[in-house]
């Protein structure tokens, strides 16, 4: 319930609120009911929200502000101030010690966009995030479907599938790097046994595949847990009805469960992109260090190397500003084009 309330611009929330007060027993709201509720949602919501505030927070903005303060402070110190500093740094050329600072307008951006190195990094990031997204979501769906079918020992399976999430990304990275090391890695030996000339130290494609696998493996658990919960919310009556009509498990999954998982899958796609953009740094660092020849030098890793190894603070700041814009654009596009196709009615 709280999760839904935190998205204030959604009309779709109306039926949920209504359900709270009305039909508490049934799990699903029929599509027609949802539609009519949406129409009358606005007026109903205003009343309910007003009631909610009065009931809980007393008069005036004092208490709510106080309660919001910790979160606002965290945002201020860990988001707004750093973002502002990144913005200012991105138009400066400065030595790392900050004793010599020159204002250079947009030179940092210009030289970035002109550099083949940066363009390569954009392309690599694109392929990496898309592949990672498809792989993560695909595997998580298969696993969620499979564990949903299992009755005996389901918790055990779930726990095992969730385990990788508890492993630190750097350790996961080293593990993968070692397993697939062409000289000593056991899995690399298996690949060589099949006649595949696997060598992520030399072959850019192999390296990209390896980091994608490692990053996906690390993130499957996250998608999985959301999908498992999503599947639990699929009305049993619908599934049973379909079964009576002769639909097999796969058909039921594809035609009923999957569309109903729409909001979850959409949310996970957005989260996977953000994960790919920002949180895969440690895996890249441990598995390939961005190599060979920049083949796995994704944007966030390049931000780190240029900032903390090369001490080119202006360029690094410009890159992080651009990266943030890319992530923003990407998320907005997803909301713009896919959000409409998602059915929130369930």
């Amino acid at each position: 319930m709280t999760l839904r309330l935190s998205i204030p611009w959604r009309d779709a929330r109306a039926p949920v609120l209504q359900r709270k007060h009305g039909s508490a027993g049934s799990k699903a709201v029929p599509a027609s009911a949802a539609g009519s509720a949406r129409a009358s949602g606005r007026a109903a919501r205003r009343d309910q929200e007003a009631g909610l505030k009065r009931a809980n927070f007393g008069d005036g903005p004092g208490l709510p502000t106080l309660l919001l303060l910790p979160q606002l402070l965290i945002l201020l110190f860990f988001f707004f101030i750093p973002s502002l500093r990144a913005l200012t740094q991105s138009v400066l050329l400065s030595d790392p010690f900050g004793n010599n600072v020159q204002f250079v307008w947009f030179d940092n951006f210009k030289s970035l966009l002109a550099s083949s190195d940066y363009r390569q990094s954009i392309a690599v990031t694109f392929w990496f995030t898309v592949m990672q997204n498809v792989l993560t979501l695909g595997s998580a769906l298969v696993l969620a479907f499979a564990t949903d079918r299992i009755v005996r020992g389901r918790p055990a399976y779930r726990t095992i599938i969730l385990l990788p999430y508890a492993i630190a990304p750097a350790i996961a990275g080293i593990l993968w790097a070692f397993l697939f090391n062409p000289a000593v890695g056991p899995l690399a030996q298996v690949l060589h046994g099949f006649g595949i000339a696997w060598d992520p130290n030399l072959n850019p494609t192999d390296a990209l595949i390896l980091v994608t696998l490692a990053a996906s493996w690390k993130h499957i658990c996250y998608d999985y847990i959301f999908l498992v919960v999503g599947l639990l919310a699929v009305p049993v009556s619908l599934m049973e009805a379909a079964a009576v009509d002769g639909a097999g498990p796969i058909r039921r999954f594809v035609s009923i469960a999957l569309p109903m998982l729409g909001p979850t899958i959409f949310f996970l796609t957005v989260m996977n992109f953000i994960y790919g953009f920002f949180e895969t740094f440690a895996i890249i660092d441990a598995v390939t260090k961005g190599g060979p020849a920049g083949a796995t030098n994704i944007l966030v890793y390049k931000v780190f190397v240029d900032g903390f190894v090369n001490l080119d603070l202006g360029s690094s700041a410009a890159q992080s500003v651009l990266l943030m814009s890319f992530a923003l654009i990407c998320t907005l596009l997803q909301f713009r084009y896919f959000d409409r196709k998602v059915n929130y009615g369930v």
Partner: protein, 443 residues
């Protein structure tokens, strides 16, 4: 938080120990030595602290060189820098022109210590000094040497690795074809240092204009017009023929040598400690090879780190710093450090002392680095390197060499691109530091 607690605890601990007796002046030294080297460094500091009762040096391990650099930058910007910091050789220009340091020689002389700076081994002195004055105290100086597996060479019918790349290549191919080892050599993680930069110095190939940057910030890379290109082509050929292996991520190149999988390894003399401890094979070492048409070969250049003194501290603390630097420069300290780690003794006097004591009779491979560094008279190609943003240009170059290894580029093309990218980076450094010379402000 943790550091604060530790600091307060240390403070109380120190108070309890010293009590009403005179308070020792405490100074911090941030360093990048880990593992065995870190232990040795701590021993060195303890020796200094025990040798007198006025000063206490606190050694703080801050991670690898990059992390130390970032740590000191952050501390400086927060106006709380440590008194001393160990920075790698590639950071020389950044530190020199930072405006955040006190030149070591000025400090030491002002505090009345008589360190004979002319006694430092030439490539060491020239690397760390600006216009004949030492900017930082040479501390852990190394140079790449050529490690080899004795048994492999004997089995193949050779005494030891040949002196020239041409002859060595033949040997490595024989070793490979006879199936004595899986690979003739392993690509070092810092191959750009040992096999390109030091290669250029030894073979008298200029790396950049203006005497490798010694004569000004306007320097440009020129290694795309030198033997470096054929050197890269040679490495690519070895790689394709299976004579050279790349260890890659998740595995260290050194292990491929110490386990006996690869027969040779061009690596720092500072790995003596590790190799002595880890090698399961009958190893030895010799000089880095040179080209057959270059005779005699020149000296190699140094790597490693030096101790920089940061601005912004009280005169009492600088007394402590100067006393410690004087201690580091003592022949006794140098000889001990040399033996404990494999780094070279930085002064001629220390080297003579080690010889005198017969140290090299038992440890012949430890002398190679000193001999290789001090052979001949360093010229413009072998004195060292003065490139700004040298880490960044190196990473760009490494990327281009990797493009050769992966078959995406031809050696000439890759080196042209590396030089082009490197020069853009150099121009940015020049723009930032236009007209600047290191400030010689006295503390």
């Amino acid at each position: 938080m943790g550091r604060k607690v530790a600091f307060i605890a240390a403070l109380f601990g120190a108070l309890a120990l010293v009590g009403p007796a005179q308070a020792r002046v405490e100074v911090q030294w941030w360093h990048a030595m880990s593992g065995v080297l870190g232990d040795r460094l701590n021993e060195l500091v303890e020796k200094f602290n025990a040798s007198q009762d006025k000063y206490t040096v606190v050694a703080v391990a801050k991670g690898n060189y990059d992390e130390v650099t970032n740590g000191v930058i952050a501390a400086y910007r927060a106006k709380r820098p440590p008194e001393m910091v160990q920075i790698a050789e590639r950071g020389y220009m950044t530190m020199l022109l930072s405006g955040a340091i006190v030149p070591v020689q000025d400090l030491v002389e002002q505090k009345g210590y008589k360190i004979d700076f002319s006694d430092f081994i030439k490539p060491v002195a020239s690397f760390w000094s600006y216009k004949g004055r030492m900017s930082a105290m040479p501390f852990n100086s190394s140079t790449p040497i050529f490690w080899y597996n004795k048994d492999h060479f004997q089995k193949a019918g050779f005494d030891k690795p040949a002196d020239t790349w041409q002859e060595l290549e033949k040997q490595l191919y024989v070793i490979k074809s006879k199936g004595i080892s899986e690979c003739g050599t392993v690509l070092p993680g810092d191959f750009y240092w040992s096999l390109l930069e030091n290669y250029s110095a030894i073979n008298n190939q200029p790396y950049g204009t203006l005497a490798n940057g010694f004569d000004g910030l306007g320097t440009e890379f020129v290694y795309n017009k030198t033997k470096v290109v054929s050197q890269v082509a040679r490495l690519k050929k070895w790689l394709d023929d299976g004579v050279m292996q790349i260890a890659g991520q998740g595995f260290s190149p050194e292990q491929l040598f110490t386990s006996g999988r690869c027969s040779t390894f061009a690596n720092s003399t500072a790995s003596h400690g590790n190799i002595e401890r880890n090698a399961t094979v009958n190893w030895s070492a010799t000089f880095l090879p040179h080209e057959s048409d270059i005779n005699p070969p020149l000296n190699s250049t140094i790597g490693g780190g030096a101790i920089w003194v940061m601005k912004g501290h009280t005169p009492e603390r600088y007394e402590a710093v100067a006393a410690f630097l004087d201690f580091v420069a003592q022949p006794e300290t140098q000889v001990w450090w040399h033996g404990a780690t494999g780094y070279v003794p930085a002064t001629n006097r220390a080297y003579a002392l080690a010889r005198e004591r017969g140290y090299y009779k038992d440890h012949p491979t430890r002398e190679i680095a000193v001999l290789q560094l001090s052979r001949g008279t360093p010229n413009e190609s072998s004195r060292g390197f003065r490139f700004g943003n040298f880490v960044q240009t190196m990473l760009a170059q490494r990327q281009e060499v990797e493009a050769v290894f992966s078959g995406q580029k031809q050696p000439q093309q890759a080196m042209d691109d590396a030089v082009k990218r490197g020069n853009e980076i150099l121009r940015q450094f020049e723009k930032l530091n236009a007209g600047k010379t290191p400030e010689n402000e006295r503390p």
